[in-house]
C-alpha cells in the first residue's frame, strides 16, 4: 500500500493503516510504503523498495491518491501487478487563487495528473464517495471498475475518550467547525453566519473552530481574522489549533451543531464524527457532503448566513428536531460508517473483485 505520507490522526493515514489492518486480519500479507512517516508504529518501507517487494503478477498495489506525485504515476505505469487506486480527491486549485500560489500550483498539478491516472488500466478505482468516483468516470473510466468505500477513521476511539471541555467556550447556541483553515472549507461564510446568529435570534451564539492553519495559507487566516474583527465577533470565536482527541470529544458533546459550509469535500470525516457523537449537523450541499450526511442533518443549497443562523436557532430551540437529527445521525453511523461495516465492505469488494 503506497501513501504520500504517514502521520498520526491524518485522514488518509488512518484509512491506509486500518485498511491494512483489516486485510491482514483476512490473512493477506500487507506492507505500507511512504516517502516519509512520522510517529507511526507500523513498519514503513520507502517507495523505491516496492518493486523489489512485489514479486508476482497476482500481487496487489493499493495507491492512496490525494496529491500530485510523479513518482507514483510512473510506478503505476511501470508495475505489472494488480492495481487499485484509492482516491481521496484533490481540491480544485480555484479555491486557492489569490490565497496561495503554492497551493494553486500543487493542486493544479495534482488534478492535471487525473487524466493520466484515468488512462491507466486499473483493476479497481476505490473512491471515498460517489462524488470522488465521478472524477474518474467523467474521464472515461468504466463505472463497473469503480466502487465506493467510505474511508476508515478513528471515530470509535474518539467515542471512548473522556471529554475535556476546559477550553470549550460556554455559550448557547455553540456552533462548531472542525477542519484545517483552508479556503475550500468556507470559513468566511461561517463567520458571516455567526454574525447573522448574533444579529438575529441566537444573540448569545459562540463559535468554536478546531483546525490548523498552514503557514502557506496565512493570507486566508488573516482574512478570516479580519472578518471576525470587522463583524465585532472577537469575543465570540474560539480557535484551537492544537486540540487533542479529548478536547475534540468535548467540543462535539457541548456543541449545539456542527456547521460545515465547505465548498469542496471528498468525504468529510468530521460529519461522521458528529453523527456518531450525537451532534446535529448543518451543512452545505456541496461535493461529497450530501452523500456523507444523507438525511441525518440539515443540508442547504447555498451558504445563506440568515438561513444558517435560523437553522442553528431552530435546532437550539426545537427539542424534537434536535432529537430526530441525533437519532438519525447515530443510526446512519452504525449502519453505514462504523468500522466493522467498512471492514466487511472492504473484504466483500476484495472477495468479489480478486477472489479468482
Amino acid at each position: 500500500m503506497l501513501v504520500p505520507g504517514l502521520s498520526p490522526h491524518d485522514a488518509v493515514s488512518n484509512d491506509a493503516r486500518q485498511m491494512a489492518s483489516v486485510l491482514r486480519g483476512a490473512n493477506h500479507e500487507v506492507r505500507l510504503f511512504a516517502p516519509h512517516a512520522r510517529a507511526i508504529d507500523d513498519p514503513v518501507g520507502t517507495p523505491e523498495e516496492i518493486e523489489g517487494w512485489l514479486q508476482s503478477p497476482r500481487d496487489l498495489l493499493i495507491y492512496h491518491y490525494c496529491v500530485g506525485w510523479e513518482f507514483a504515476l510512473a510506478l503505476l505505469r511501470r508495475l505489472r501487478v494488480r492495481r487499485i487506486v484509492r482516491y481521496h480527491n484533490i481540491t480544485p486549485p480555484e479555491f486557492f487563487e489569490g490565497w496561495s500560489p503554492g497551493y494553486v500550483s500543487a493542486c493544479a498539478e495534482g488534478r492535471a495528473q487525473l487524466d493520466a491516472f484515468a488512462r491507466l488500466d486499473y483493476d479497481l478505482v476505490l473512491g471515498d464517495s460517489a462524488f470522488n468516483i465521478e472524477d474518474f468516470t467523467t474521464r472515461g473510466v468504466d463505472p463497473a471498475r469503480c466502487e465506493v468505500l467510505a474511508p476508515f477513521h478513528e471515530v470509535d476511539e474518539l467515542r471512548t475518550i473522556e471529554a475535556d471541555t476546559r477550553r470549550v467556550p460556554l455559550g448557547s447556541p455553540l456552533l462548531l467547525m472542525v477542519g484545517r483553515m483552508s479556503p475550500n472549507k468556507g470559513y468566511l461564510d461561517l463567520i458571516e453566519s455567526l454574525a447573522a446568529c448574533v444579529a438575529g435570534r441566537a444573540r448569545d451564539a459562540r463559535l468554536l473552530i478546531i483546525g490548523k492553519l498552514d503557514p502557506n495559507l496565512a493570507r486566508y487566516g488573516d482574512a478570516v481574522t479580519a472578518l471576525i474583527a470587522d463583524r465585532g465577533l472577537e469575543s465570540r470565536v474560539t480557535w484551537l489549533q492544537d486540540a487533542g482527541g479529548a478536547e475534540l470529544r468535548g467540543a462535539y458533546e457541548r456543541a449545539d451543531a456542527l456547521v460545515m459550509l465547505s465548498g469542496h469535500e471528498g468525504f468529510c470525516v468530521p460529519v461522521v464524527e458528529a453523527m456518531a457523537l450525537g451532534t446535529p449537523v448543518i451543512a452545505l450541499a456541496s461535493s461529497a457532503l450530501p452523500g456523507t450526511l444523507g438525511d441525518a442533518g440539515l443540508l442547504w443549497e447555498n451558504a445563506d448566513p440568515h438561513v444558517i443562523a435560523e437553522s442553528v436557532a431552530r435546532i437550539a430551540d426545537d427539542a424534537p428536531l434536535r432529537n430526530t437529527l441525533r437519532q438519525r445521525g447515530r443510526e446512519r453511523y452504525e449502519s453505514t460508517f462504523a468500522p466493522s461495516v467498512l471492514g466487511v465492505r472492504l473484504l466483500d469488494i476484495m472477495q468479489h473483485r480478486f477472489a479468482a
Binding site: 500550483s105 447573522a196 444579529a199 498552514d214
Partner: protein, 481 residues
C-alpha cells in the same frame, strides 16, 4: 414514521427555516460583505525572518549554491518559486540531496517545474549543469557521462582536494584554539560551580534547620489532631447516645400513633353510631310532626262540632244584631269589609245579609268548609297574612273576632298598624271581645278592658273608640282618621 414521512418532516422544517430567514433578513440585515482581498502575502514566512526578494529574478549560480542542506533548499524555494517551501516539497528535495543529487539538479527541478516556469527566475549557468545532471540519470549513457566528467575534471578535483586538505587543517587548527578557549571557560565554570556548591551546602544546612522546625510544628499539629480526634470521639459517643434516645422516643411515638389509630377507629365507629341515632331521631320527629298535624286537624274538627247551647247562641245572636246595627249606621251598603277570625261564620253571614261586600278569614279548616258551604266568601288563613295581601287603603271596614287578636302587646301593635294601612281614610274597625277576660303578656295578668282597648287603638292613630257593651262581651268601634 416511515422514510417518506421523515423526508416530509425535514422538508417542512426547512420551509419554516427559510421563512424565518426571510423575516430575519429584513429585520436584522447584515452589513454589506466586502470580499476579502486576495493577494500574495508580503512577509508571511514559515521560517524565521528571511524576506523573499519578489522583484529579483536574476541570479548567479553561486548565489544559490553557497549554502547547504536545508538552508540551501529553503533558499532555492524562496528564490525560484518566491514562496516558503511546503513540507512535502522541501522533504522531497532534501531526500534527493541525501541520495547524492547535485545542487544543480535540485535547482533545475524547481526552476523548470510548472510553478518555477510561472515565476520565470533566471539562474546563469544552471541550464547546462541541470542538463548534465539529468543526462546522468539516463541508464548506461548517464554512467559513462558521469565517468567522463569526473575524468576530465580530475586535475581540478585534485586542486580542490588539496585546498580542502588545507581548509581541513585550518579547521583543525581553529578547532584546537576553540577547544583551548572552551577548556579555559570550563575551568572558570568549574570554579563558579564550586562557589555555587558551597552556597548550596549552606542552603542545605538552612533547609535542615527548617526541616527540624517543621518536624516540631508537625508534632504540634499531630498533638492538636489527637486532641481533636479525642474530642470528636466523645462528640460521636454523645451523638450516638442522643440517637439512642431519639430512637426510643421515636418508638414511643410509634406506639402512641398506633394507639391513636385504634382510638380513631373507635371514634369513627362512634360517629357512625351517632349518625345512625340522629337519622332515627329525625324520623321520630317527622312522625311526631305528622301526628301533631293530624291531632290539630282532629281538634279543629271537634271545635267545629261543639255546640254552644241555646242560651249562649241566643245571647250571641242578640249581641251580633246590636253590633252590626251600630256598624251599618256608619257604613253604606256594598262597602267592602274584611272579617278576621270569622269562627263559625255567623257574624260574616250577618254582614252579608246587610248588603255589605264582606269576606272572611278563619284558621279552622272545618269551620271554613262549613261556612263556605253556606255561600259565604271565606278563606283558610291567619289575620296578619290576610292583611299583608291587601293593598293600602283598599277596605271600607275591618271586623275581627277574639281569635284574631295576639296575646302580647307588640303583636297587637303590629296588627293595629297593619289594619291602619289597609283601611281607607274614614274606614271603620270593629273588634269583638267576647267570652272570658282578655289577657296579654308579658305583663301576665293584665286584663284588656274597654278602656285599655280604646287606649291601644288611640296609640295606633285611630279616633277615640266607642265601646258597645252587650251580654257576653263588648265590641270596640273606632275609625281611621
Amino acid at each position: 414514521m416511515n422514510a417518506s414521512e421523515q423526508d416530509d418532516y425535514l422538508e417542512r422544517i426547512k420551509d419554516e427555516i427559510r421563512a424565518e430567514a426571510d423575516v430575519a433578513r429584513h429585520r436584522d440585515p447584515l452589513p454589506r460583505a466586502d470580499p476579502p482581498a486576495r493577494s500574495i502575502p508580503e512577509a508571511k514566512s514559515a521560517s524565521a525572518g528571511v524576506p523573499i526578494e519578489r522583484e529579483r529574478l536574476d541570479y548567479a549560480l553561486s548565489d544559490l549554491t553557497g549554502i547547504h542542506y536545508i538552508a540551501f533548499v529553503d533558499n532555492a524555494f524562496r528564490a525560484l518559486l518566491k514562496r516558503e517551501p511546503d513540507e512535502g516539497g522541501s522533504h522531497a528535495q532534501i531526500r534527493l540531496l541525501a541520495s547524492g543529487a547535485s545542487k544543480a539538479e535540485i535547482l533545475g527541478n524547481l526552476r523548470w517545474s510548472r510553478e518555477g516556469k510561472h515565476v520565470g527566475a533566471r539562474v546563469h549557468g544552471l541550464l547546462p549543469r541541470y542538463a548534465i545532471a539529468k543526462l546522468a540519470r539516463v541508464p548506461v549513457l548517464g554512467y559513462l557521462v558521469e565517468w567522463a566528467i569526473a575524468f576530465a575534471g580530475l586535475a581540478v578535483m585534485l586542486r580542490h582536494q588539496r585546498a580542502a586538505d588545507t581548509s581541513t587543517a585550518a579547521g583543525f587548527h581553529a578547532a584546537r584554539d576553540t577547544q583551548a578557549r572552551a577548556e579555559s571557560e570550563l575551568r572558570g565554570l568549574h570554579s563558579a560551580l564550586g562557589s555555587e556548591h558551597a552556597a548550596l551546602v549552606a542552603g542545605h544546612a538552612g533547609l535542615v534547620a527548617q526541616h527540624a522546625d517543621s518536624l516540631v510544628r508537625q508534632q504540634a499539629l499531630n498533638d492538636a489532631h489527637d486532641r481533636r480526634t479525642e474530642q470528636l470521639t466523645i462528640d460521636l459517643r454523645v451523638a450516638r447516645e442522643q440517637a439512642d434516645v431519639m430512637r426510643d422516643h421515636t418508638h414511643a411515638l410509634d406506639q402512641r400513633l398506633h394507639a391513636s389509630s385504634d382510638e380513631l377507629v373507635q371514634l369513627r365507629h362512634l360517629v357512625h353510631t351517632v349518625n345512625h341515632w340522629l337519622v332515627s331521631l329525625q324520623r321520630s320527629l317527622d312522625d311526631l310532626e305528622s301526628a301533631e298535624a293530624a291531632s290539630s286537624e282532629r281538634t279543629d274538627a271537634l271545635a267545629a262540632l261543639v255546640d254552644e247551647g241555646p242560651d249562649a247562641a241566643a245571647a250571641r245572636n242578640e249581641r251580633y244584631r246590636n253590633w252590626s246595627s251600630a256598624l251599618m249606621q256608619r257604613l253604606p251598603a256594598e262597602s267592602s269589609v274584611l272579617d278576621l277570625a270569622s269562627g263559625d261564620g255567623l257574624w260574616l253571614d250577618l254582614l252579608m245579609s246587610h248588603g255589605l261586600d264582606a269576606s272572611g278569614i278563619e284558621a279552622n279548616v272545618a269551620l271554613v268548609e262549613r261556612t263556605r258551604a253556606g255561600g259565604a266568601a271565606i278563606s283558610v288563613g291567619d289575620a296578619m297574612t290576610a292583611l299583608a295581601r291587601c293593598n293600602d287603603a283598599s277596605l271600607d271596614g275591618i271586623t275581627l273576632g277574639r281569635a284574631a287578636l295576639p296575646d302580647d302587646r307588640s303583636g297587637i301593635d303590629r296588627l293595629t298598624r297593619e289594619i291602619g294601612r289597609v283601611l281607607k281614610p274614614g274606614g271603620l274597625l270593629l273588634a269583638r271581645i267576647e267570652s272570658e277576660p282578655f289577657r296579654i303578656e308579658p305583663q301576665g295578668a293584665s286584663i284588656m278592658d274597654a278602656r285599655r282597648w280604646s287606649a291601644v287603638f288611640a296609640a295606633a292613630g285611630f279616633a277615640p273608640a266607642q265601646v258597645l257593651p252587650a251580654d257576653g262581651g263588648i265590641a270596640v268601634l273606632t275609625t281611621r282618621p
